[in-house]
């Protein structure tokens, strides 16, 4: 198994400089990136299912940040909370999709623009 390099070694080969340890900042960066992607997706797309997916993405970004903070503080609170949020998200997803189906039945389209008449 000598010829087989451990992945860590492979990484060290690829990046001769020492890889710094993965810190909280990295997680938060990924989380923020996910959130921004979700936000941009939500703002730019018209398809309600895609928009819904984008909200999910933002949701999970928040979850990721929670886990990272939980790990950083070496506590179980963050993880527990995320599991709880996942449950809620599952339920919410079922409802949201049902709503989307209903809205589609009304207008035969998934575009959010179709509901523009709900204005003040």
């Amino acid at each position: 198994m000598d010829h087989l390099l451990h992945s860590t070694q492979l990484a060290q080969l690829a990046f001769p400089e020492a890889v710094p340890a993965i810190t909280l900042a990295h997680y938060l960066f990924v989380s923020a990136a996910m959130f921004v992607m979700g936000l941009i997706g939500f703002l730019t797309r018209k398809n309600m299912i895609i928009m819904f997916l984008c909200t999910e993405l933002m949701f999970q970004a928040a979850g990721l940040a929670l886990i990272a903070f939980g790990r950083h503080h070496l506590g179980a609170d963050g993880q527990t909370f995320v599991i709880f949020v996942l449950c809620v998200a599952a339920a919410e997803a079922a409802m949201a999709l049902a709503l989307v189906v209903l809205l589609f039945r009304h207008k035969e389209t998934l575009s959010a623009q179709a509901w523009k008449e709900l204005n003040g």
């Binding site: 936000l39 939500f42 703002l43 709900l118 204005n119 003040g120």
Partner: protein
């Protein structure tokens, strides 16, 4: 003419009280025991109310017969018989009849008690006798007079009629001032309803409103007077009030002219009552409503606006006479206002052409006499004139009504002449003659002569009022002239008549024939019966003065007995106390031996044309009356060949604008309009706009602000889902920026 009956019955304290115990007189009034009367007296109150309810019922079931009239006649008639029975069974002791507890409020050591009870004394009986009697007769008359309106209107008329009798009974018989006030407002309401009976006629509606509004001014005075009475004396019940030691103490002070001892608040009470009386009894300056009130049906004018309701003011003053005595100015003002009213309205009546209006102004004038009588300390004269006037003025109005009814609404004396000779008008002519003789004060045979004489003579007996006496004598001459002007123009002379403008819608058009061939519609049996009865009553009323009265035997005639045995009595011990005072301390009470207004027991030597005023006045007023009649005969009958012209016309022209001004009622209505109505109307417009702009503006502003805010914010709810998301994200970014800046600043610090 000493009267102590009432006082010994009701005011044992008065006689026992020495004048120097005034200071100690303010302790709580002793419980006054006034006996309970029999309950059947409540019939007088209950029956008119019952007839009102029945008339309402008849209207609901759509009755189109004369049933409402017969019900009312029966109700009023039984009430009259009950009143007669009440008179017969009266033994001289006042009593109350309790119907039910009405208002009983207790607070602290005071309690306000105003029960639905009735106080029966001679004054009450006296007033109720002619109120119910005339109501019966006039209801009978109206049964025929109103027969054009059979159906709902007929029921409405008699419903209000019954309600009026009920209210009048409450006013006269109530045992406390609140009951009087209830009746006072009740008769005002009925007056309003009946003046406005022809509610499709704009003049009638305007007259009804005018009557109501002018009366409100007076009613305010009465209400405040009742309030002050309770505040000062702590009671509203006559029996308690008139035996209240405080009030009796005041009267003792007043008898010797010591008005400084009477608090101003007590002196204000009669002044406020007086305003109420002037409103209801049409005295200057509140008399303007009464002539206009003639828009109502004539029976209403006769009953309410001549005989009964307008005498309520006289009743109020007579009933609360002890209170009036405690004010230095109240009775002189009453006397002078009455005199001014009598003269002013007599001059107006001289120049009118509408016979019903002449009668209206003569009513105002005669009411002025009654008030002058009260003011010059002869409640007897005032109340006796009320009674005689009730009969002869009702008679005169009903005669005018018969003319109006028969000649299709014609009331202009220039268009009617010689009715005496028209077939079927004999009884009306006799009735009119009797009424006119009474009003003119024709000597010896008419009651009006004696009642007016009493007032005139007392004006000369009471010191300081001889000016009033002379004005009233002059007015008596004017009265005789304008009264017989009507009689000589309308009933005497050549036959000539022109129908009024109600001719074409007359129900009896077929009877009358065509417009060019007008036949007057002579009165039927009901009207004639009533006219005859009233004419007989007017003549018989002389006996009320003649029978029983004797100066030698010191007995009083009927009217005097009825009035002075009640609270309207004032002069028991009047003179003797004054003498005691004078004898004790002539310096302090310099009015030689008399109170400030003379005495009855010891009349002042006030010779009038060299004799006792009571005796001389018989000749003076007889002469004045006859001269007035003769003048009217010469100017309005002698040599007259047609209805429109008479000898007066060229004479009137010589007076320049004066007759025209009198015909236009001295422009009093116009002056009131200018100085009262117009400013009020302008003021109301100003306040209307203030209300509209300022008050409504503020309210509307607060309603408008949220709407404005919503209107500004509304576009933000665009309906675009992503738009909301952008706002949220933008908001979040802003929040982050703020946090960021704060952190940076914190770091810098």
């Amino acid at each position: 003419m000493i009267n102590t009956t009432f006082l010994t019955n009701l005011m044992p304290n008065l006689l026992a009280m020495a004048p120097d115990t005034h200071a100690a007189a303010s302790h709580a009034p002793a419980a006054v025991e006034v006996g309970q009367g029999p309950k059947w007296i409540l019939l007088i109150i209950g029956l008119p109310m019952l007839t009102t309810l029945l008339c309402g019922l008849y209207a609901m079931i759509g009755n189109k017969t004369k049933l409402p009239a017969w019900t009312t006649v029966a109700g009023a008639g039984i009430a009259f018989l009950t009143t007669v029975a009440m008179y017969m069974s009266f033994d001289g002791t006042p009593y109350t009849v309790h119907a039910f507890d009405w208002i009983q409020v207790h607070f602290g050591d005071k309690s306000m008690i105003a029960n639905f009870s009735f106080y029966i004394d001679t004054l009450t009986i006296y007033w109720m006798l002619f109120v119910t009697g005339l109501a019966t007769l006039i209801a009978l008359y109206a049964s025929e007079y109103m027969s054009h309106d059979l159906g709902t209107s007929y029921c409405r008329f008699f419903g209000a009629f019954g309600l009026f009798v009920f209210s009048m009974a409450c006013l006269v018989m109530g045992d406390n001032l609140l009951m009087l006030y209830l009746g006072w407002e009740g008769v005002g309401l009925c007056s309003y309803l009946l003046i406005g009976y022809f509610y499709k006629k704009p003049e009638a509606v305007a007259a009804a409103k005018k009557a109501f509004i002018v009366n409100r001014i007076g009613d305010l005075g009465l209400a405040l007077g009742v309030y002050l009475t309770f505040v000062h004396f702590g009671t509203l019940e006559y029996a308690v009030l008139f035996s209240d030691p405080t009030l009796l103490g005041y009267i003792e002070s007043a008898k010797v002219g010591n008005f400084e001892a009477i608090p101003a608040i007590a002196q204000w009470i009669p002044l406020l009552f007086m305003i109420g009386a002037f409103g209801k009894s049409a005295q200057f300056p509140l008399y303007v409503w009464l002539p206009d009130a003639m828009e109502g049906p004539t029976p209403v004018s006769a009953l309410i606006h001549a005989a009964t309701m307008v005498t309520a003011g006289v009743y109020l003053v007579a009933r609360t006479y002890p209170v009036f005595l405690t004010s230095e100015h109240a009775l002189p003002i009453v006397a002078w206002i009455g005199t001014i009213t009598a003269l002013l309205s007599a001059t107006i009546a001289m120049a009118q052409f509408d016979i019903k209006r002449i009668m209206a102004y003569s009513t105002v004038s005669q009411l002025g006499y009654m008030f002058a009588g009260l003011g010059v300390l002869t409640p007897t004269g005032g109340a006796y004139h009320v009674l005689t006037h009730a009969f002869f003025k009702a008679l005169l109005f009903l005669c005018c009504g018969a003319v109006m009814h028969g000649f299709a609404g014609q009331l202009d004396l220039r268009k009617l002449s010689g009715l005496r000779q028209v077939k079927g008008w004999g009884i009306v002519t006799i009735g009119m003659l009797v009424g006119c003789l009474n009003l003119a004060g024709f000597p010896l045979i008419t009651a009006g002569y004696y009642s007016k004489d009493t007032i005139l003579a007392e004006a000369f007996v009471t010191p300081g009022y001889s000016m009033i006496g002379w004005i009233l004598v002059f007015t008596a001459g004017l009265t005789a002239y304008y009264t017989f002007r009507v009689f000589f123009r309308v009933f005497m002379g050549p036959v000539e008549y022109h129908p009024g403008d109600e001719h074409h819608d007359d129900d009896h058009a077929e009877e009358h024939g065509h417009a060019g061939d007008f036949h007057p519609h002579a009165p039927g049996w009901a009207i004639n019966t009533v006219l005859l009865t009233l004419a007989v009553c007017s003549i018989l009323a002389v006996s009320l003065y003649k029978v029983g009265g004797s100066e030698e035997k010191h007995t009083k005639h009927f009217a005097d007995t009825m009035v002075t045995d009640s609270s309207a009595s004032f002069h028991s011990n009047y003179g003797s106390h004054a003498f005691e005072y004078y004898e004790k301390d002539p310096e302090h009470y310099p009015v030689a031996g008399v109170g400030p207004r003379g005495t009855i027991e010891q009349p002042l030597e006030m010779p009038l044309v060299g004799g006792d005023p009571h005796k001389m006045m018989y000749y003076i007023s007889a002469g004045v009356g006859v001269i007035g009649i003769a003048l009217a005969w010469f100017l309005h009958l002698f040599g007259r060949t047609n209805a429109a012209e008479c000898k007066m016309d060229p004479i009137a022209k010589r007076f320049g604008p004066i007759p025209k001004m009198a015909e236009n009622k001295w422009y009093v209505d116009e002056i009131y309009h200018l100085i009262l109505v117009t400013p009020l109307r302008i003021g109301s417009h100003i306040f209307h706009w203030i209300d509209k702009l300022l008050v409504d503006g503020l309210v509307n502003l607060f309603g408008f602000l949220p709407r404005l805010l919503a209107w500004i914010l509304k576009p933000s709810q665009s309906g675009v889902l992503q738009g909301y998301a952008v706002s949220m994200a933008g908001g979040m970014v802003l929040l982050l920026l703020v946090v960021f800046v704060l952190i940076l600043q914190g770091g810098a610090a």
